[in-house]
């Protein structure tokens, strides 16, 4: 039983939504969903729905903040007021400011910023509906949107959270599991590079559990990475097919 006395595993060992412990929610990735942005993506992890847009490389204003040797990466993670159970004030919270930072740092690890000096690459992520795992879904969406915008990257990064519920590790926590579970550990991973680019832990884990949790997260990321690549391929395959 979880720390608040809420049971998160059913008697048959499955989770409340019927998933196995190492099972992702249904994941949907759509590329190029917005017309104005240079690149965009819609990502759903179950009921969590986020949209990411990329603008740039574009001019930086005011000009003096531009970097002479590489592009500035600017990122905003933001939750829509209607995305949560209680209405969320649209003003940025401390949580959103922190998450914008960790997502930006994760993305900066793969973008070839030195190819676009004196410009900015702007990444905007809006959480349309939240049901746990919004930062990791946002990371996936942002990275697919960057690829859609044609920004050269070393790899696509994707994210998923691993947590501990009723004493055992579980992949891709939803909101109830995050709220009443013992730990939540979002992980961002560049599958091609084999590098962890985002890592946070909120809750208690033993070091052995931590090492297992990282492995479980990587397995989840590998599946999402495949879906992200397929979504991108699908989008561009249809463009490159000869017409008529």
């Amino acid at each position: 039983m979880g720390k608040y006395g809420v049971k998160l595993l059913r008697d048959d060992g499955l989770r409340l939504d019927g998933r196995r412990l190492d099972e992702l929610r249904k994941i949907r990735i759509e590329v190029g969903v917005l017309k104005n942005a240079n690149g965009s993506a819609l990502v759903e992890y179950g009921n969590t729905k986020v949209i990411a847009a990329v603008y740039g490389p574009r001019d930086v204003y005011p000009k003096h903040v531009a970097l002479p040797d590489r592009a500035l990466v600017r990122c905003r993670y933001h939750m829509a007021p209607f995305s949560t159970k209680e209405r969320k004030s649209p003003a940025p919270t401390r949580r959103e400011i922190e998450l914008s930072k960790v997502i930006r740092e994760a993305l900066e690890s793969v973008i070839f910023t030195e190819l676009f000096p004196r410009t900015a690459i702007d990444i905007f992520v809006e959480v349309i509906q939240s049901d746990g795992g919004t930062r990791t879904a946002s990371l996936t969406a942002a990275s697919v949107a960057l690829a859609d915008a044609g920004i050269p990257m070393k790899d696509i990064v994707v994210g998923v959270a691993v947590g501990k519920i009723d004493g055992v590790l579980a992949l891709d926590l939803n909101d109830i599991e995050d709220q009443y579970g013992e730990a939540d550990m979002p992980v961002g991973y560049a599958v091609g590079l084999g590098e962890i680019v985002l890592l946070q832990l909120n809750g208690l884990l033993t070091s052995k559990e931590f090492i297992d949790a990282v492995k479980l997260a990587i397995r989840g990321c590998e599946q999402i990475y495949k879906l992200a690549k397929e979504a991108l391929a699908k989008n561009y395959m249809s463009v490159s097919e000869p017409s008529g």
């Binding site: 903040v65 592009a71 740092e105 910023t113 590098e195 909120n202 990282v214």
Partner: protein, 287 residues
């Protein structure tokens, strides 16, 4: 604009040759300040240098200087946790602490430090929030932990975590009398400690390629690929992690960093033990 996280444009100016020297030293198994990879810098502690606060602690790790003040007030609980006290952690990187800091509301770096410390104090159950209730569902103690960075010499998180922990130990609540819904505060007698569990510590390890450096200085931070902060409770459980920096880390290096930081956490637990068991030796003026 504040809600947009931007690649830092203000950073400490360190000459190229010095950066090269730092990296060269690391690759030779050394550090430019003579430390081993696994060494913390010298840590100095002063308890309750600020008598106006309910509790305070100044911590220096090398040239990094942090003072944390704790203030306790009687307030209302959050609606979703009616039977828990309130804990709030804030951090300010004031402009006197570094040429790269500007006056204004806390930026993303200060917010990140405060939130990492907050998660550590909360998840380790160091602050026993359920014992801070005065009238269930109505009145609770609200504990405000304010982290004030006075000199930025690198590894702000560990200095902030240590000074917050010690300031909470040093904190005394005023005596209160409760009759029905009425609370009378006796501001002459401060004799109640905040209910605290086992202490919690953080150990930050910088990484550059496969090299791991405990407690990076500000000059080392300028050449690092990134940093990992591990928070441990007394039993050795992880009570929080935060990765910072714009480069990824391999799983194997991550596991080595965990092992190293877990070993180092013992030194910090010993230090905390020593400070609280002989607190009179640490009641030094602000310095």
């Amino acid at each position: 604009m504040i809600s947009l996280s931007t690649t830092p444009i203000r950073s400490i100016v360190i000459p190229r040759y010095k950066k090269d020297a730092i990296v060269a030293a690391v690759k030779k198994g050394e550090r430019i300040d003579g430390r081993r990879y696994s060494d913390f810098r010298r840590i100095e502690v002063s308890l309750n240098p600020v008598s106006r606060a309910n509790g305070s602690a100044q911590v220096k790790i090398g040239s990094t200087m942090v003072i944390t003040g704790v203030k306790a007030e009687i307030g209302s609980p959050y609606p979703d946790t009616p039977n828990e006290g309130v804990l709030q952690v804030h951090a300010e990187f004031v402009p006197l602490a570094s040429p790269i800091f500007e006056a204004g509301p806390p930026d993303e770096n200060a917010i990140e430090v405060a939130r990492v410390v907050d998660r550590g104090l909360r998840e380790s159950r160091f602050v026993k929030l359920d014992e801070l209730v005065i009238i269930p569902g109505k009145k609770v103690w609200s504990i405000y932990v304010d982290i004030y960075l006075l000199d930025h010499g690198g590894n702000i998180i560990d200095a902030s975590m240590l000074s917050s922990t010690l300031a909470l130990y040093a904190c005394r609540l005023p005596r209160i009398m409760v009759s029905g819904e009425e609370i009378v505060i006796d501001r002459d007698v401060y004799d109640k400690q905040i209910p605290l569990g086992d202490p919690v510590v953080s150990v930050t390890v910088g990484f550059i390629e496969d090299y791991l450096l405990v407690d990076p200085s500000i000059e080392e931070e300028a050449v690092l690929d990134g940093k990992l902060t591990f928070i441990f409770d007394k039993k050795g459980n992880l009570a929080g992690i935060q990765k910072t920096g714009v480069k990824g880390i391999k799983t194997k290096t991550l596991e080595q960093a965990l092992e190293l930081s877990q070993k180092k956490s013992q030194e910090l637990f010993e230090l905390i033990e020593k400070v609280i068991s002989s607190s009179e030796n640490y009641s030094k003026p602000l310095a």
